[in-house]
Amino acid sequence: MVALPRLASAKKISARFPLRFTAAMGNSLAMQRLTHLQRLEAESIHIMREVVAEASNPVMLYSVGKDSAVMLHLAKKAFYPAPPPFPLLHVDTTWKFRDMYALRDKAAKDAGMELLVYQNPEAKERGINPFDHGPLHTDMWKTEGLKQALDQYGFDAAFGGARRDEEKSRAKERIFSFRTNSHGWDPKNQRPELWNLYNARKAKGESIRVFPLSNWTELDIWQYIMAENIEIVPLYMAAKRPTVERDGLLLMVDDDRFPLEPGEEPVMRSIRFRTLGCYPLTGAIESEAATLPEVVQEMLLTTTSERQGRAIDKDAGGAGMEKKKQEGYF
């Protein structure tokens, strides 16, 4: 992988303001004030260790996005010097950006973890794609694909990178979220979560989705990526890329499967992505922010919230994500 333009300034930041814990200044009675990132890190690591201690067959869902990158980094810390004692699972749609596939394989290898890639065979056979099949694409590749993968491997606990600040219905999600044996989520029937005591007991066939990043915000994620020098997909940083404009979304023409309409010509624009999904469904924004601090600066000054670039939340009116969760979407 080519060295990322962000590294230079990211390093500068962490050198100027080291996040890592430095030893007490001589006097052991002095209070150590932990920063919010140190406390979030400690909480996430504690959650992962509880799952490994109590679940029989855990897995980490890995979507190759920036949240997944942070989650994987935390897993490495939680179990060091051992590699994380579970595999990574990528529920693939075959329509991710090429840069994502490249980083996925590298990240798994670097972490010393097994990478499982699952593609829903039915979606593959029927040639389901985002251009011709609309919402069915997400439903079959992702929602159905995830259920099939969990069933096939018999995973009883799956880590996911969702955060409570992403969307209203997620604010009430538990850290340990129980799913019936058909993967359903019942918001009225979740267990109370007290202190940092997680009840991981479940009946055969039931499973848990575990969200170790529940209490992180988007800004926390970016700050942590900078402080810890975590490698992320370069698409988060602005660069000249071939694009077309469709239905108000700026789409990147990532490979020659992109069907151009008569007269349509890809235009080179300086763009970046706030979230990453299937390239034909993920809207880019025009931006000149080529380094991490610039991206964060733009994010803080901008007035558009994170998931806006994804078409998925707008299905089914305001309660789109909640409905998807009840159907078993992550």
Binding site: Q32, A78, A82, N199
Partner: protein, 639 residues
């Protein structure tokens, strides 16, 4: 009232973001973290206050704001103005009801701190949600509607916050705009609240007059409308109050081991979150409950070894000596280890629709320890509105009480007052796996320390050897009229003829003597089985083959008896007769009475029978005679 422009929030740093992003990031990287809860009655304006905090700290983006404005017009309760509450009320079903029904977590930030807010409902039946939100909070904001003053709900929320060990209470007297910002109204509320707070042991609280809707005293104090107010704004108070995990560092080291890290033969690390204290390489530590001591060799992290780690950090320790230490153990300062005990007094908050069943076994999880536990009949329940103590037999959903708890092996703990992490526990139902209660340990009971086992000179093995047999408990279970007593008697006769030393404990007979004080409620039936189990165990210790014939309808109690006995000595015999057939036989005429409503809690009619999942022996009485059944059982036991 003249409409006042919202005060400019003091904690938005747009200029810095634009001018020097790295300086801004540095500032925000070093923030602390405060977790707090907001609680109040329905309509006290909680959601509006939180919406205001998010709005003022720019945690609302343009597209959310557009959606909010549209929603406000459609379902809002504030006319044409923005209804901040809609930002916070998440799930679709709740939005329709207009009530927050669960715990939602929100995030906002100022330059000094990041905040995690638990929005907990004020609705009467949802005490459990508030307790959940309070369990992780450092501070509680108790909202009061200035027009209504201190209400029953205010008392309840304050009591719960205090019960859960929250040290910082903020009394936010809200809707001051609706009482013309009247100082006398504010003072009266503070005085009323002060009387109540002292009566339940709250030593200090901070009162702030606010308007969540208009923004008074949220970010800057005093607002133009409350010149008489001399204290901090709400935000300023939240930014400066002491954070709990910093206080935790002062205590002796406590680390509950979560996971033993053994990547290879040369490395053995103990991973866990430091609950209290600090740790350095070279520190003397004691592993509790075993009591073994060693010294800390290394504090291992991905970024290199640390020279010191403190409460609130997740670390991996290695020790200088190879001593036994596994999940559930606590690594503690060698000179100040925590106690281990198996009997406690604890406060319990019941969180399940199924009430507490005294005597039943529940899983108890405390830190990283999970053990079997039983709860005794509560000493009392607290009426959370009047703080009166009530005599009760059980605890129902949302009830708070004090009871003794017994665990089947000692656990390492500290009083909740000293340590949330080693004093707080949950109870889990063994069948449904639901979290049914939260508990807070008061103290261990002396009894646990003073009742010792008397070592016996003649062992159970010696008793059994003299009788030339292997002791066992043949536990017959099945519906009334299924044929338990008939078959059990045949089995005993056959064994007796074979020179086996046996004894039959029959349900009806036991109830004439040992258990004549017990009725047929669920709790009494459980106590009935517990006593029979203990008697059967003593007889098995004496070397006998014990045969019991009890309906024993609940799986949990049969499992409890199984656990009392050495592996293999408990033989569950399910006398499987369909209800219709047992009812048709109706040898004692009981089904007829139950159907007529003359007998309450009758198994199979208005009380459940939980079939054994994997009995050692299952007798299908529709397929064999009692004689055949008895032969089969004897074969299995003696053969």
């Amino acid at each position: 009232m003249a409409d006042q422009a919202s005060p400019e929030p003091a904690y938005v740093t747009d200029a810095l973001i634009a001018e020097d992003i790295e300086a801004y990031l540095a500032l925000h990287q070093h923030k602390g973290l405060l977790r707090f809860i907001t609680c109040g009655s329905v309509d006290d304006g909680k959601s509006t206050l939180i919406g205001r905090l998010l709005y003022d700290s720019k945690m609302i983006f343009e597209d959310q704001l557009a959606a909010l404005e549209a929603d406000s017009k459609r379902v809002g309760t504030q006319g044409q103005e923005i209804d901040f509450a809609l930002l916070v009320d998440g799930l679709a079903a709740e939005r329709e009801q207009g009530i927050t029904i669960d715990v939602a977590y929100r995030f906002f930030s100022t330059e000094k701190r990041k905040f995690i807010v638990a929005d907990t409902p004020g609705h009467e039946q949802y005490t459990r949600n508030m307790v959940t939100g309070a369990s992780t909070a450092d501070l509680a904001v108790i909202l009061i509607d200035a027009r209504k003053g201190v209400l029953v709900q205010t008392r309840r929320h304050s009591y719960l916050a205090h019960l859960l060990g929250i040290r910082h209470l903020v009394l936010a007297v809200n809707k001051m705009d609706l009482v013309d910002y009247d100082q006398a109204t504010f003072d009266k509320i503070v005085e009323d609240y002060g009387h109540f707070a002292r009566s339940i042991g709250i030593e200090a609280f901070t009162a702030i007059p606010i308007s969540g809707f208009k923004g008074d005293n949220i970010t800057q104090a005093p607002s133009a409308n409350t010149p008489w107010y001399g204290g901090s704004s709400l935000i300023h108070h939240l930014e400066t109050v002491e954070i709990a995990n910093e206080a935790d560092q002062a205590g002796p080291l406590r680390l509950a081991v979560q996971w033993v890290n053994r990547p290879n033969l040369d490395f053995r690390g103990f991973a866990g979150l430091i609950a209290e204290g600090t740790v350095k390489p070279g520190d003397a530590v004691r592993v509790v409950p075993s009591g073994k001591t060693s010294t800390v060799a290394r504090i291992v992290t991905l970024d290199g070894d640390l020279d010191e780690a403190v409460a609130g950090q997740s670390v991996t320790l290695t020790l200088a000596d190879e001593i036994d230490c596994s999940r559930g153990d606590v690594i503690a300062a060698a000179d100040a280890p925590p106690e281990a005990a198996d009997q406690f007094e604890a406060a319990l908050v019941w969180m399940s629709d199924e009430p507490l069943i005294p005597g039943r076994g529940y899983w108890l999880k405390l830190a990283t320890q999970t053990v079997n536990a039983t709860v005794h009949e509560p000493k009392y329940e607290v009426n959370v509105n009047t703080m009166e103590h009530l005599a009760v037999k059980t605890l129902a959903l949302n009830a708070i009480g004090v009871a003794e708890v017994t665990t089947d092996k000692p656990i390492v703990f500290e009083p909740y007052e000293t340590s949330r992490q080693l004093g707080g526990f949950i109870l889990v139902d063994k069948l449904t796996n639901a979290t049914v209660a939260a508990g807070m340990i008061h103290f261990s009971l002396r009894r646990a320390q003073n009742v010792h086992w008397q070592a016996l000179e003649i062992s159970r093995e010696q008793h059994a050897r003299l009788k030339n047999q292997k002791p066992a408990v043949l536990w017959f279970t099945g519906l009334s009229g299924s044929g338990k007593s008939t078959i059990a008697n045949l089995v005993e006769k056959k064994l007796h003829r074979m020179n086996r030393h046996t004894f039959l404990l029959d349900g009806d007979n036991v109830r004439h003597g040992l258990n004549k004080d017990l009725g047929f409620t669920e709790a009494d039936r459980i106590e009935n089985i517990r006593r029979v189990g203990e008697v059967a165990k003593l007889m098995a210790d004496a070397g006998l083959i014990v045969i019991t014939a009890f309906i024993s309808p609940f799986r949990a109690e049969r499992e409890m008896v199984r656990k009392m006995l050495p592996e293999g000595e408990f033989v569950e015999v399910h006398i499987d007769t369909p209800l219709a057939l047992a009812e048709a036989r109706d040898v004692k005429g009981l089904y007829k009475k139950a159907r007529a409503g003359e007998l309450k809690n009758f198994t199979g009619i208005d009380s459940p029978y939980q079939e054994p999942e994997r009995p050692e022996i299952r007798i299908d009485t529709t397929a064999m005679t009692p004689e055949q059944a008895a032969d089969l059982i004897v074969d299995k036991v003696v053969g």
